[in-house]
Each structure stands twice: as C-alpha cells, then as structure tokens.
C-alpha cells in the first residue's frame, strides 16, 4: 500500500518530465522513418520496418530508463523531499521499491505507446496485427526493468551525470559481453579460461533478451530459452535491487 503510494507519486513525477516526451518523439520518428529505409532496400520491406522498429524500441526505452531512473532517487535526496518522506512510518526498503516500481510502470506505459505506433505502422503494410512482435517487446521490457534497477542503484549514491554514464556503460557492456562466451569456447582450459568464465558470470549479458532476429525472420525458439531469459532477467534484477537496498539502508542523509 505504501509502496503503491510512492510508486504512483513517482509515476506522476516521471510523466511530467519533459525529457520523456522528447525521447518518445524521437522514438516515434525513428519507427516511422524505418519506412523510408525500407523503400531503399531490395527484398522484404516489412522486415526492415520490423527490424528498425524493434531496435528503436529497445534503444529509446533504455535511454528513458537511464535518463529518468538516474535522477529520481537523487532528486529526492538533493531537494530534501526525502527528509519528510522517511520521517513517516516508511521503511527505506519501501521507499526504494516504490521508486523502482513507479519507474517500471512509467516505462511500461511508454513502451506500450511506442509499440502501438510500431504495430500500427506494420498494420498499414501487411493489414494484419503481428502479435509475434509482442514476444520481442516483452523481452525488451525485461531488459528495461533490469536497466532501471541498475539506474536506481547508481542513483542511490551518485549524481545523475555519473549514474547515467555508469548505466550507459552497463547497457553497452551488456550488449557486447556475448563475445566473452565465444571466447570461452575458443580458449584452452586454464587460469585464463576460469578468469573469463567468472567475468562472464558477473557481467550482464543483455543479448539474452534479444529475440528481434528470431521474431522478424519467424525462426523457431525452444521454450527453454524463453524461460531461461525470463529467469535471467528476474534474478539479475533482484540481485541489483538487493545491492541498491544494502547501499541505501545505512546511508546518512545530510
């Protein structure tokens, strides 16, 4: 109940942030311009629209999560609104979860809006609603939830600019770390292999949430892989949130 109140308040704050609409505008622009790209290609034009559209959803969603997420907790501390809030019978855990869920809800609304534009554009080309796209979008959402938790974690102890850089690095590393997996397969066993394996275990692998190609080209994906990706997202998010709570729990608000 208290978490819900804080989450709703966070949502109210987030949707009054202008930067959100700027990003939404560019996301819509990018989705619609994918049609121009499609005109320049030989072959299946709708595939290009789907490809570019899903990539836009993922990129702009991540930017929203990072830019809003890194400032939300920080703003409360900086503007001292947290003083009155935490003097009420509210646990710090409830505060942090409220902030997190408020942001997740904001992203859900934004992602739905973007998806609507995206699905409508496809509909104008194929005259049918491509429900399969929703699978890819669901995993994009899971990725956004994870990025939100990372942004919240950094926001607990760092300024928005630094937190944004950290979170953006997390996003980039997350999309490049699958290279390590290939590396593990290529090198002989030994200390180096063990080291790379440990590194891969802790570094995020956001490619786990990338089902764009599979969905666009209509490839079959075993349910096991969907399940693994979902579980990966949940466990990783919980891990980051726990870290955030540990940092936040004993913090002095001067």
């Amino acid at each position: 109940m208290k978490i819900r109140a804080i989450a709703l308040n966070t949502f109210k704050e987030a949707i009054r942030d202008r930067i959100l609409y700027l990003l939404l505008f560019f996301a819509a622009l990018s989705i619609i311009l994918s049609r121009a790209l499609a005109l320049l290609t030989v072959g299946d034009r709708v595939k290009i629209i789907k490809d570019v559209g899903l990539a836009s959803l993922s990129l702009f969603g991540a930017l929203m999560a990072i830019l809003i997420g890194t400032s939300l907790v920080y703003k409360e501390i900086d503007k001292k609104t947290i003083f009155t809030l935490l003097s009420k019978p509210v646990h710090r855990l409830e505060f942090l979860l409220g902030k997190f869920f408020g942001l997740v809800f904001t992203l859900l609304v934004m992602l739905s809006l973007m998806s609507l534009i995206f699905l409508a554009l496809i509909f104008f080309h194929t005259f049918k609603i491509e429900w399969k796209m929703l699978i890819a979008i669901f995993f994009i959402f899971l990725e956004l939830v994870l990025i939100t938790s990372v942004a919240t974690l950094f926001s607990c102890f760092s300024t928005p600019i630094l937190s944004s850089i950290f979170s953006l690095s997390f996003y980039l590393i997350g999309h490049l770390s699958w290279g390590l997996e290939t590396l593990i397969r290529k090198i002989q066993s030994g200390i180096v292999k063990a080291f790379v394996q440990i590194l891969y275990l802790f570094l995020p692998d956001l490619e786990n949430f990338n089902f764009k190609t599979e969905v666009v080209h209509g490839l079959q994906v075993p349910t096991k892989i969907y399940l693994f990706s979902t579980l990966y997202g949940i466990v990783y998010t919980l891990f980051i949130l726990t870290l955030a709570i540990l940092v936040f729990r004993r913090r002095d608000f001067i």
Binding site: I82, T84, K88, P89
Partner: protein, 305 residues
Amino acid sequence: MATALRIEDLHKSFKIGFIPKKKEILKGISFSIQEGEIFGYLGPNGAGKTTTLKCVLGLIFPERGKIEIFDQPHLSLQAKEQVGFLPENPYFYDYLTAWEFLGFYGQLFLLKKKEKEEKINYLLELVGLKKDANLQLRKFSRGMLQRVGLAQALINDPQLVLLDEPLGGLDPLGRKELRDVIVRLKGEGKTVFLCSHILQDIEMICDRVAIIVNGQIINQGTLQDLVQEKIFFTEVIISGLDEKELEGLGECSSVHGERILLKVFEEEALERVLSLVQAQKAKIHSLIPRTETLEDLFVEIVKEK
C-alpha cells in the same frame, strides 16, 4: 507524565573532504522532553540542532547513544507513527497541488479515504490555505510552503511534533498565526519540539529550553530557572525636560526632537527622575524595566564558548 522523547549520550561525526577527516558534530547530547510541553532547542548555526533532529527521525545514524520516542526505539514504525516533522526550508514535490500533496502523505499513514479527506480539509483550514488547495506547490510562496509543511507534519495527528526553524521566512502576521497554532497543539495535549534561533519566539511560547553550542548542551531548564528576574536598568522616554537637568541620573542615549531616552541604573535615581518630571510638569512617554532575556543569556553563553 510520560516522556515523549528521551535522548541519551548521542554522538555523531561526519567524514569530510577528499581525504576524509572526522568532524564531531554531536558530542554526547542528553535530554528528555515530557509529554505535553513545548520544548525549545536553540543554538547558533552549525551547533548541531538539525543533526540531532535527523538522528531522532532516523535520517542519519548516530555512532553512539540511545533515542526513545514514547519509550519505543526511535526507528520502530510505532514510534514514527507518533511523530510529525517540519523540516527547515521545506521543499516539496512542486508538481503536486496542496491537496494531492497532503493526500500522498495521508496514504503513507494508511488513512481511509473519508478520514483522509476530512483531515486534509481540517488542516488546510487550520493553516489558512483552504482556497489554495488546488494550486500546484510550485506556485506557492515561501510562507505558504511553510504552512503546507506544517499541515503535512500534522496529517497523522502526531503526539510529538518536531519543528525545525518553523518561523523562518514568515512575515510578522504569519509568525503570530504559527505561534498560535503551536500553542493550540499544546492545548490538545501534544508535545512540541521547536528548533530555532529566533529567541523571541522561543521565549514567548516554550516551557523548557536547552541550549546547544558546538555539539554539547550547555544549559537546560525552565525559562524561569535560566533567566533571572533581575532588572538591569530602566528605559525612560521623557519630553519637556532639558537634557542638562537629567545629568547624573542616568545615561542619555538618544534625543529625538523633544524626546529623551534615558537609561536609569539605580532605583533611587529612578525615583528622582519621576519627582523631577512631576515638579517640572514634564511628560513620561514610556517606562520599561529591562530584565535579563533569553537573548542576553544566549549571547553570553555563546561568547563564553
């Protein structure tokens, strides 16, 4: 009578700077506030008033010491449910209206919808913001923010109200109204903890006072105990007399047209002044004995330190 707030041997230091250097802010603070009294906590800037408050509210964690609110550990939810807090220079969610803002805090106390609405109406009336209920807080003046801040501090009908510089930024009328509200809270049986350096206000409404300087409590007790009743001197404003006639009776400090401000230090001299005034058919405009005030005591203590 129950103890509303008990603080024992509170220590807190902060690490400051790039190469962290420890700075002790609170050096063993102890005091207790009885239920139903208005307790003034005063000290110069940087003495540790707000730090003490933040320790009580669980915003910062003391290194040593014990804090109890109505005999409950201060971090427990039961303790926090009894507390209302107005911070210094309140800044709130400026995108909310006064009504939404109070509603949000009401939700944190799990108030029912009807109860919440009645409460908000009552509080907006109490702090004089009824007509601004649907105005966004960003359009509020500083004084109005202070008022809405007081309203949020009272949303849960707290037994212990903590106010940090509540009278800062208010005009004289606003200060009077707020003082009335504080006295009214006392009338309702609530305990008020008032941090301030506006001494006049503390003097006017507080039952007991503690003075903190450099992280230590230097003096505490009832106002009567702390401030002596001794008369320092008497200020007399006279007209119709020549300055020369008053020579030797006191100190003429200023002359405005006909009016003379005279400081008389002895009782006998005062009587002579009065008989002189009668004999010469002169006029007395005012006669004020200056006793020791909290301000004198405060200045003396801070200077000593």
